[in-house]
């Protein structure tokens, strides 16, 4: 009806879950996403899975990137995904995991619904490209 321009932007939540105080990687990712033109919400350190779910739902992010370097991904990631489902937010959120994830766990995470796992040394462009190509189409 009006000729108003749409102003869609990709929104991401960069999240640190659990007792893992290493957030340099998360910071670097957040900046790279910003420079790619994304809107980035950073969760801060030591968040519980519920806090991450709350942030993802309220901020209505397209992409949830979880950074875990502590090895607790097998307990934490499923809780986040359960929470997203509870709020009916799982289907159109692209869930990514970054960090040190053993291969056999990677398969399991993907089984759960994680779209991709990015290990150490992944070029930033690869992650950004992946998001651009896979960001959920929303009505």
């Amino acid at each position: 009806m009006s000729a108003e321009q749409q102003e869609r932007a990709v929104r991401c939540l960069v999240a640190k879950v659990g007792l893992d105080g290493h957030d340099r990687g998360a910071h670097v990712i957040a900046r790279a996403f910003r420079d790619a033109g994304f809107e980035v919400v950073y969760s801060g350190l030591h968040r519980a899975p519920d806090d991450i779910v709350q942030a993802a739902v309220q901020e209505d992010v397209d992409v949830l990137g979880i950074s875990i370097l502590s090895g607790a991904h097998n307990t934490l990631v499923p809780k986040v995904i359960e929470g997203l489902k509870e709020y009916d937010a799982f289907d159109d959120t692209l869930v990514l995991v970054g960090g040190i994830i053993p291969d056999e766990d990677e398969a399991e995470l993907k089984e759960l619904g994680v779209a991709e796992v990015f290990g150490p040394g992944t070029p930033m462009e690869e992650t950004i490209e992946f998001i651009r190509n896979n960001v959920p189409e929303r009505a």
Partner: protein
Amino acid sequence: MAGPDAPAFADAPTLSDADAALVEDLLSGSHRALARVITKIENRSPGYRAIVSALHEHTGGADVIGVTGSPGAGKSTLVDKLAAAYRDRGDTVGVIAVDPSSPYTGGAVLGDRIRMGSNVGDMDVFFRSMSARGQLGGLSTATADAVKALDAFGKDVVVLETVGAGQNEVDVVRTADTVAVLVQPGSGDDVQTLKAGILEIGDVFVVNKADMDGAQRTVAELEEMVHRREGGTTGRDAGHHGAASMASTGAGGHGEGDHTADHGDGATDAESGGADAHGDGADDSWTPEVLETVANTGEGVDALIEAFDAHAAYLRESGEFAATERRRYAEEIRTLVRADVGALATAEIERRGGIDRLAERVRDRETDPYAVAEAIVGPIADCVEGATGDGERDD
């Protein structure tokens, strides 16, 4: 598709079935629906106008508080503590935190959420980060619409947080009922810079980090400035009073007796800072309070909330609330109309080969800017005059 016959005064935009369901879900308390509606508002998604239209009748229940101040003044931390304090007394809270975005990439890091430590896991604090997205003057429309969504959702208090650095941001906080301006201690120069634009919009001034050196001095400087504003600035004050008296006569006519019949003095005069000014004869305009807080520890937050409540009570009892609302909606209508007419003009420019081609023709001295503007706006003006016919409707 804005055809040439698209009337300027169309009915409310129609809601698609999916959007109607979304509105329904929002009104029945779905957080997901609320979040999605705000996204649509931010994105200017097709249909967002119909959604906001549908929500409008459900708004008006929330107290809207604006918090502004220079970067590093402690806005986010204070908002966090405010939200927690409101929650303690049983109110539900919505927060919209606006951060700037890069003018080059459009990207942004929205960092205010990190400070919301007191409210993590509490879904009754709905916190939403918004970026400025380089919208020309559209930011205040988007935030005002997002506030409406939170209001319609049923939040008792909505806090709007923004960096006080420019007209865009000032426009944003002006959509709040009560505006708190945050200042850091020891920033004498800061207080000076506040004069331009921000000082005038503050209903409450907060010296945050009041445990730091120089806090008392900053408080004193602000006090002085607030009182100078009361006394000296006749020009602005006149406008203020004009609007207020207009409102009170208007209110009388509509028989809003319930406001005036209240036990008037009790609520407003309870506050220390404002009390002496309220005594100033018959003039019952609001004198901004200057308060101290230490957001880190939560010190002074309860007093700040009391000041917000006192201001809200003042607005209601003086009839100023109606005037403020009227002013705000007038501004909203103007902004929307300006944007829509601008969009019509932009479409017309496209039809004529685009702005670059027109500029090139001006450069070649084939035509001039005034002639081009006339050629573009003329047909629109003709339509408007044709449609209104009897002409008298314009203001």
